[in-house]
Every structure is written in C-alpha cells, then in structure tokens.
Subunit: 152 residues, 2 copies
C-alpha cells in the first residue's frame, strides 16, 4: 500500500490539523468575545460548528503527534472510515457556517451602519475568513484520507 | 478495474445528473422569475452559480446518456480528472450559494415583514432548498468519481 502524504498519521496531516485547530479557535474567539452573536442565527450556527470542529481537530492533532513522534500507528480500515466521515461532515458544516456568516455580515453592512458598527463588522468578517481557512484545511484532510481509503 | 456505481458513464451517474439538472433549474427559476434578486448579493451569487451548474449538468447528462444508450465510452484518466475537478468546485460553490441564500432569507424573515413579503420569502426558501438538493447530488457524483480515480 502506498503512503499518501497528508493522510492520517503523516507529518503533513499533523500540519493540517494544527492549522485547523488554530483557524477554528480564532474564528470562535473573534465571534464570541465581546460580541452578542446570539442575536443572529447564522452566528450562533458558526459558534456551534466551531465548538464541534475544535475538539475534533485537537483529538486528531494529538493522535497524529503520537503516530509521528512516539509510535507509528497502523492503518485500520474502521479508524480511517470514522476519520473520513467526521472530516467530511465537519468540512461541509464549516463551509456552510462560513458562508452564512459572510453573507449575513454583508447584508448587515449594506443595510445600515446602526445594525453593525464598523468595529463589530470587522470582527464578523475576520471570523468568517478564519472559518473559510479552517474549511479549506479540513477539506484537504478529507480528500487525502479519501484518496488513501480505496487502497485499504 | 472495478466498476463503481455512480461513477462516470453508469446509469446511476445518469440519474444523479438528471436530478442535478432538475433541481438547479428549479432553484434558478424560483429565484429569478418575478423576483428582484439583484437587490441582495447572496441571491445574485446563487443565480450566477446556478448559471454555471445547469450547463455543466446538462453536458454530463448528455455524455452519460450517450455512454449508456449508444456506445460505452472508455474511462480516460484526463477526462475523469476534469469531471472530478468540475464537480468538486461546483459542489462547493452550490453549497456556499445555498447556505448564503438560506441565511439571508432567515435574516430577512426575522428583521421585518416589509423587507420580505410572505410570498417572496417562500420563493427564496424554495430556491435555497432546491440548491441544497442540487448540492447533495453533485457532491455524490464527485465522491463516486473520486472513489474510482485512484484505480485508474
């Protein structure tokens, strides 16, 4: 079986998971610190999704680190399937949350300055941008693992 | 090389393409007939994306129909790669458009009845729902072709 760079247990996968953790955490922080995000359902959705993505990324970051630095874990069909499904669902949810946040922010900016003071809207936009970056990396993880899967 | 149901040239693929064509066309029609969609950037984005998805789906529908009913086309590495990339990009764009439309409609419903008369808002919601269905099928096409690809 060929080694797929970026698939579970490789150092590229470790880097991807690290990026996901950083971007999803910063998206959550930009949205939730000092912002009344619960006024808009799209922002609540982003916070919920990031609350799922962060523990998932951290868990897999730890597993990848263990596999690289301590003891190489063997590929197990069932384990890769679970990671694959989790990555697929979370990457779609992250994209959905990022798009919803971006479009609602855009509408608020268009509508009226009073709905969205400049400082707050910058925070929303940054949060959406971080969510997009997190989606990009989690989608890459999913595709690398999916590439590996048929050969198992 | 194994046959993958749902991959390019199979009858399941034909059914998926047919569904994509129907759902993306109805999404476009719900959004654009008698609606001033150009007032909101999310709705313009949906119309643009559907304008890309519809010709793509129809082209592949015709190619699949040719392959099933007239003459079985051989798998070509480059052709599958192009279909794969097109499906991937368009499925992500469709999901983004559907989420943006859904979240903007939700915000308009919450904000005030005057922004969004009940009849119009139903149209927006139907359009978003059709776009979600189109995304689901186009994502399935992408995953089936991606499953086939490493064995080529």
């Amino acid at each position: 079986m060929e080694e797929v760079p970026g698939a579970f247990g490789s150092s590229a996968s470790f880097a991807l998971r690290l990026g996901q953790t950083v971007f999803s955490t910063s998206s959550l922080l930009f949205m939730s610190l000092d912002v009344d995000f619960y006024g808009y359902s799209a922002f609540c959705y982003l916070v919920t999704v990031m609350g799922l993505v962060i523990p998932w990324s951290i868990t897999l970051l730890v597993v990848d680190a263990y596999s690289i630095f301590i003891k190489c874990l063997p590929y197990q069909h069932r384990l890769i399937l679970i990671i694959l499904l989790g990555d697929m669902i979370l990457s779609y949810l992250t994209l959905a949350a990022a798009c919803s946040t971006a479009s609602v922010t855009d509408l608020l900016l268009d509508a009226d300055g009073s709905y969205c003071p400049s400082k707050l809207c910058d925070r929303y936009q940054l949060s959406a941008a971080m969510a997009f970056l997190s989606w990009f990396l989690s989608s890459a993880s999913f595709l690398f693992n999916f590439w590996l899967f048929p050969s198992l």
